[in-house]
């Protein structure tokens, strides 16, 4: 069966160049990067090369990059590494659970957390951030791009507000990295999370940018790896993969591939909307990363649509992969004001570097007819149609 993968916000395939770069570090170059001998020197060099490549993608210096196990660890390190009992934290209602649940945990430890609302487009109002500031505000954590809708948040403006108030600013850029240019200096953030497997590196590796001069408490206690910011022997193959993927992403952005991807995404989006009525884009009117579109197909269960499409070879999702099987409709879409049944009727399509025009043709041939079939068999839709006629 032909299979088309449009769920790159869940995870991406490791690019062949990335895999090739990693390959020696599973075999002949196996040293512990902290070892004194030749083997250690060899892998240490690879780790530092990768650190420079990541720094280059983010616009920081290499010493500001801490390698982690992924986006979730990076988010937790930034939050738990800075905030203590009695502190106040500002975040938003559309954050990934890695941030929201980490903040919830802080509340149990005696911190106050303000969760900012978003508008119908899924955007946080920077003025709300300013208004939420308190004398004991320690940290603002606002994502750069939302994982479900792809909506880009006004992080530059929030960075200015944070700097003015002398409050630490963390941004979860897991879904922004490699899709839009990132410059930590322009954002003015103190920490920024990225994840390997969202940018065509493997699962199990990520990084946190930590601004020079800001001390951070490690999550793990152990050796003095990563300048005592993250104990544990480095995942050298993963780090090498992340470095290669970062380098490729940087080159790709410089070539303007993001604009090409946006055009492909737009063709998918407009093609679907042209053939399906009572549907619309979640996050319409907001700036978005070029690879994501989230569409509500009213009167259906998104869950059934995902299954039906999967059985015909198209992989998409109802939202965050981590939330699959959950009963709660997407907290992101609900925060944007969608009705629960509309949120449950929403599907995320997310493109990757390997997505082709023929993949889009495949999706365009499949989605409208599948939605029509689901609606035809949906008691909700039938009763609605009856009422209308």
């Amino acid at each position: 069966m032909q299979r088309v993968y449009l769920d790159n916000n869940a995870t991406t395939a490791v690019l062949p160049e990335v895999f090739e770069a990693m390959r020696p570090y599973f075999g002949e170059r196996f040293g512990n990067a902290s070892s004194i001998h030749h083997h250690g020197q060899e892998t240490r060099a690879a780790v530092e090369d990768a650190r420079e490549a990541v720094a280059d993608l983010l616009g920081c210096t290499a010493s500001e990059v801490v390698f982690t196990s992924g986006g979730t660890e990076s988010d937790n390190l930034a939050i738990a590494g800075w905030v203590a009992a009695g502190d106040h934290v500002i975040t938003s209602s559309i954050e990934h659970h890695a941030v929201l649940h980490a903040c919830k945990h802080l509340e149990k430890l005696g911190c106050d957390v303000s969760v900012l609302r978003v508008d119908g487009r899924g955007l946080v109002d920077p003025d709300d951030v300013g208004r939420a500031l308190r004398s004991n505000t320690k940290l603002i954590s606002l994502m750069m791009a939302n994982n479900e809708t792809g909506v880009l948040q006004p992080v530059d403006e929030v960075g200015k507000i944070a700097a003015e108030a002398q409050v630490l600013f963390h941004t979860d850029a897991v879904q922004a990295a490699a899709k839009v240019p990132i410059d930590v200096r322009r954002i003015g953030c103190d920490a920024l999370s990225i994840s390997g497997h969202k940018i065509h590196a493997p699962q199990g590796v990520g990084a946190l940018y930590v601004k020079k001069g800001t001390r951070i408490q490690p999550l793990f206690h152990g050796g003095r790896h990563e300048r005592s910011r993250r104990a544990g022997t480095e995942n050298v193959p993963g780090i090498v993969g992340l470095g290669k993927a970062a380098q490729l992403a940087k080159e790709s952005l410089e070539r303007g591939d993001d604009k090409k991807m946006a055009a492909v995404r737009d063709r998918l989006e407009q093609g679907i909307l042209a053939h399906v009525d009572e549907a619309g884009v979640n996050g319409q009117g907001a700036p978005r990363v070029p690879n994501t579109t989230n569409i509500h197909f009213d009167h259906i269960e998104g869950e059934s649509l995902v299954i039906a499409l999967d059985l015909k070879g198209l992989a998409v999702s109802t939202g965050a992969a981590c939330s699959s099987g959950a009963i709660e409709p997407s907290h992101v879409l609900i925060a944007m004001g969608l009705r629960p049944e509309q949120a449950r009727a929403s599907i995320r399509f997310s493109l990757g570097k390997q997505t082709t025009e023929s993949d889009i043709d495949f999706a365009l041939a499949l989605v409208p007819e599948t939605v029509a079939r689901l609606r035809e068999l949906s008691p909700k839709y039938k009763s609605q149609v009856k009422v209308v006629s």
Binding site: E303, S304, I307, A308, L311, S324, S378, P379
Partner: protein, 360 residues
């Protein structure tokens, strides 16, 4: 696929026969939801919809090589099964949630999902048989080969359309044969114990469940306490709440008398529990409402059948006739013990399920 031996074996059988099989698990209830509340057990293992069971179902699907999905119907399950379960008890009736689940979830929502994703039929691990009667032009529901596992009592609500899209591949097998087949397919769950009780009520303690559920909903338990009255009308004491009683119950009445007392009737309207001696439990008639007929289009004239009035009841000879709008009167040849409102009355013509309804 519940993760149990029956539905797992069905999947393996159908797959081995070369069918295009899709595994679906209905996530109906979060077993951790009420854990630790109002004296409910902290952790519940090996129950339907627990993480363990979904894990087992998924592993079976992976092993036999079929696509597998979990579909979440917790909201509807709560609305159509759990809520009515609680309300029935609070009204002095003894509910059967499994029938509601079959009618509103398994053979309703699941069939819709199946059609939507392009599946022609839904197969389950129920012990029952479906056959098409060419002469009558109707789908028939029949008792299975293994009488000890017969689940037709819980399936009386199936419509013609539902039966026409349903497969019960275990209908001709006994449970030991199913386990043996599971072994032959190398399924790890071949010796998994049968589930016995109501899936969302751990330990079968429905009173504790009602307490915990209402507490979680922020509702207080309505005051259902009242008088304990004899069949002669004499008030002999107080009781703690009608939902604590079931018709036929002997223990826990809280009064000491010379002869054994049983709950004869529960009166929801005036919160009375009427007690009497064993002989008062016997009745020759019952009325069933919200009926569903399977082997017949309509009950035009009185019919000789056997009627089953609870899951563990040997169907007893009776005559059924229409006694009102959506109501059937059953008159037994011999009086039956403890006919209980809230339970189902299911009518059998030999192996064939004629239909059934809810005892009022």
């Amino acid at each position: 696929m519940s993760g149990g031996v029956d539905s797992s074996t069905v999947a393996a059988m159908l797959r081995a026969d070369g069918n295009n099989v899709i595994g679906l698990t209905m996530q109906l209830w979060n077993q951790r939801r009420l854990a630790g509340r109002e004296g409910m057990p902290e952790a519940v293992h090996g129950r339907c919809c627990s993480l363990d069971d979904v894990y087992d179902a998924r592993r079976v699907a992976q092993q036999i090589g079929i696509p597998y999905y979990v579909v979440n119907h917790e909201e509807r399950f709560e609305r159509e099964v759990v809520r009515p379960f609680v309300e029935e008890y609070l009204s002095g009736r003894t509910p059967i949630p499994c029938s509601l689940c079959n009618n509103h979830l398994k053979f309703d929502q699941l069939l819709i999902v199946a059609q939507q994703i392009g599946a022609e039929r839904v197969a389950t691990g129920h012990y029952a048989r479906v056959a098409y009667d060419d002469a009558k032009r109707r789908w028939l529901l029949k008792r299975p080969a293994d009488a000890s596992k017969d689940q037709t009592y819980f399936l009386f609500g199936l419509t013609q359309e539902q039966l026409g899209r349903t497969l019960f591949p275990l209908g001709d097998m006994t449970k030991p044969q199913v386990r043996e087949l599971a072994h032959r397919h190398g399924l790890a769950i071949a010796e998994k114990p049968d589930s016995q009780e109501i899936c969302f009520v751990p330990g079968g303690d429905y009173k504790r469940f009602i307490d915990a559920y209402l507490a979680e909903q922020g509702e207080s338990l309505p005051d259902t306490a009242g008088e304990l009255v004899t069949t002669g009308g004499e008030v002999i004491g107080e009781h703690t709440g009608i939902h604590n009683f079931t018709v036929g119950q002997r223990k826990g009445l809280g009064v000491a008398t010379g002869s054994p007392l049983y709950v004869i009737q529960i009166s929801g309207a005036d919160k009375q529990v009427i007690v009497g001696s064993d002989e008062h439990l016997y009745s020759r008639t019952l009325r069933a409402r919200r009926t569903n007929l399977i082997s017949l289009e309509a009950l035009a004239e009185p019919m000789r059948v056997k009627v089953k009035i609870r899951h563990r009841h040997e169907p007893a000879p009776a005559t059924i006739e229409r006694s009102g709008e959506d109501e059937i009167l059953a008159t037994f040849d011999e009086p039956q013990r403890a006919i209980t409102p809230g339970q189902a009355a299911v009518f059998y013509d030999g192996e064939i399920v004629v239909g059934g309804g809810w005892i009022v």
